[in-house]
Amino acid sequence: MSDSTANDVGVATDVGVATDVGPATEAAPTKRPLLTPFNIIATLILLAGVAAGLYRLAVGLGPSTNLDHVNPWGLWIGFDVMTGVALAAGGFTISSAVYLFGLKEYQPLVRPAILTGFLGYFLVVVGLLVDLGQPWRLPYTFAVQAGPTSALFEIALCVALYLTTLFVEFTPAAFEWLGWKRWRALVHSMTIALTIFGLILSTMHQSTLGAMYLIAPSRLHPLWYSTHIPVHFFVSAVIAGLSMVIFESALSHRVFADKVEITHEKLDEMTIGLAKAACVALGVYLAIKVVSVSLDNEWALLFTPYGHWYLFEILGFVVLPLIGYTIGFRERRPTIIRVSAVITVLGIVLNRLNVSIFAYNWQLPAHERYWPHPYEIIVTVALVTFGVVMFKWIANRMPILHEHPDWRGDH
């Protein structure tokens, strides 16, 4: 998914604006061509997604998905929610590093990461609403009857609060764009509090997404099931956040060449620094995965078909990028680092899909296993596309990739 998104952006020949972004298009200071390949493809995907979403609302989940009584969760939960939340972890990772741990040289990466995080969580909620049987009842968990014994209750609460937090963290860019100086100053004064709040909420719900599977030891394959799964989810979310920031910043540098301020050399320097952090995080992740297999004594399972699949995930998407990041960092090779980042992101996607779909219900016979319906895939692709379009629309207008001249150096 991420790969195709990357291509969509890659083929974009200029920094155009999608046709469906409203009247502000006309207000854009410079007239950009509307009929770019990116805009045409994105519009078609979005229209298809809206159509599929409306169809789902009109006829219910039965005809529009491949979900059934033994596979009630599919792509919309496995990718849109589980994976989406992990890939949106860049916001809390980078803002914590910069504002709490004093790594100020990464400041230029904060705003794109916050924006990606906000759009990511927004899409998670949209994806969830599409999947819920009665989406209009989502507030019931807060307003009608709370079920605090559920891991999902904690996630609902955290995601609602964190989406709000990310929105507030994003607003300074919008306020600078609008010229609302007082509001900008107010939100700016809350930076540390917001960052701490974001880190608390992220630690909680990133790990609790893994904890949702603690209750199902008989349905999730033992190699993926672990009493440590909340820790696996949290550490891999940090890895996802770092890798997404490396991948995205390289992409933005190319696509928004007229918007970025930092030089290629500065970006390479930051990329190398992030690779060092990703090395440590991936190393820790590999270690805790090995610890889990050891503690549960599941070595013999590695020699089964599911074991091979597990090894494919670990060797191909943890060990390989770990080596890539190490070489890239030590030899100062940003390209190797960027390739490793893409592999890592794909690995996180694979891991979340394994836990929620491929290694879940693993004991069911083949004819009862789940495979997404085309409509499910269309909606998911459309959501990702919408995120990319929104990022482009905002980054083309607001001071995301560059500093606003009125607030230069004021962080």
């Binding site: 609302l57 219910g60 701490i196 608390i200 790990s207």
Partner: protein, 362 residues
């Protein structure tokens, strides 16, 4: 004597377990049990699979009681067993043939439905608390609050919940209610009443457990020495006994005796610690970072000031020297000028006196 001693040791063991388990103080105070053992006097059902002939009368009765469409195919049609069927939103109970007839051994049929767990997963994972374990035994579901997340359907270890996927605007979870309304009126559940073989027995759970144990003890060759649902995942209101091991009957292999909700409860109990510890910890980190920055800044300023002072000091010396030099030069210049002026004056005086002499001598 031996039984009472074993009971005593067991009680001590339970106490020891309870003392390490989090949040068990109340349980220990309440009589030594470390977990909920079900409401006393609650009802249950026992399915004796050795008596079941796969007639599916229970399926038909169930659909009648719950006003659902009739089960597929004529009841005598055994071809329906060629495929494993699942509980759905329209069929709360299904009979499956798990072990095909081989030789003289009869086929084994097992009726499946919601097991009505003592500590249900579905109730634990529901974020709007739609499920309740009633004192009578059934686990009940409240469709009026259900959001439709289907977490309950996804984690049930028995695959016993159905969801109305074809209902676009008011889909709900559908499952066996243990005929709650009937048993409240003192009637038997529909399936138990319909079973022509007496394979489904309705009664108090503790009595059914005794009955099951009696049957196993009386016919040890006929039964596997296990009552499925006595302890599995904390126990269920539906109990099953069989002549083959339960993994052959589509039930979870090596199901632990620990209620599944406990697996999540341990983790969720840690969550408040994140809220309470993180702010202090992170502000500490932030303060530490700030302090490092401040110290670095102070050091920088101090170094700069020192350099400046040194430079100034050096500058002052130089200036003094220059002044001295300048002063001496100035003094010399003054001397010179004075000498020059004196010489000039002397010259002028000489010239004047010469002129006076000339005037005096015309």
């Amino acid at each position: 004597m031996s039984i009472s001693r074993r009971g005593f040791i067991g009680g001590a063991g339970a106490g020891a377990v309870a003392s390490v388990a989090v949040g068990s103080k109340a349980a220990r105070a309440g009589g030594g049990a470390d977990r909920f053992m079900g409401h006393p006097g609650s009802m249950g059902l026992l399915h004796d699979t050795t008596l079941c002939v796969g007639c599916r009368s229970c399926e038909l009765a169930c659909t009648k009681v719950n006003s659902k469409p009739k089960p597929a195919g004529p009841l005598h049609d055994k071809s329906i067993f060629s495929k494993l069927r699942r509980v759905t939103d329209k069929l709360y109970t299904v009979v499956n043939r798990y072990v095909k007839a081989a030789g003289k051994k009869p086929a084994v049929y097992r009726k499946h439905q919601c097991m009505h767990c003592q500590e249900p997963c579905c109730a634990s994972v529901c974020f709007v608390k739609a499920f309740t374990k009633t004192p009578e035994g059934p686990v009940l579901y409240d469709p009026s609050v259900c959001v439709g997340c289907r977490y309950c359907v996804n984690v049930c270890p028995y695959y016993a919940l159905g969801y109305e996927y074809d209902n676009a605007f008011n889909p709900t979870v559908q499952r066996c209610t243990m005929c709650y309304t009937r048993i409240k009126k003192g009637e038997e559940p529909g399936c138990a009443q319909a079973c022509p073989m007496g394979a489904i027995v309705y009664g108090k759970r503790e009595d059914l457990l005794k009955l099951a144990r009696q049957r196993i003890a009386k016919f040890p060759d006929r039964y596997v020495d296990q009552v499925f649902g006595e302890h599995e995942y904390g126990g269920t209101s539906w109990l099953t006994i069989a002549g083959v091991t339960f993994d052959k009957l589509g039930l979870p292999v090596n199901a632990s005796h620990k209620p599944l909700p406990e697996l999540t409860a341990g983790f969720l109990s840690i969550v408040p610690l994140v809220i309470t510890i993180y702010p202090g910890l992170l502000l500490g980190f932030h303060a530490w970072t700030k302090r490092k920055e401040r110290l670095a800044e102070q050091e920088r300023l101090a170094a700069a000031a020192e350099a400046k002072a040194a430079a100034e000091a050096a500058g002052a010396t130089k200036a003094a020297q220059q002044k001295k030099l300048a002063d001496s030069r100035h003094a010399k210049a003054v001397d010179l000028a004075v000498k020059k002026a004196l010489a000039q004056a002397a010259k002028e005086r000489e010239a004047e006196s010469d002129a006076a002499k000339k005037e005096d001598t015309p």
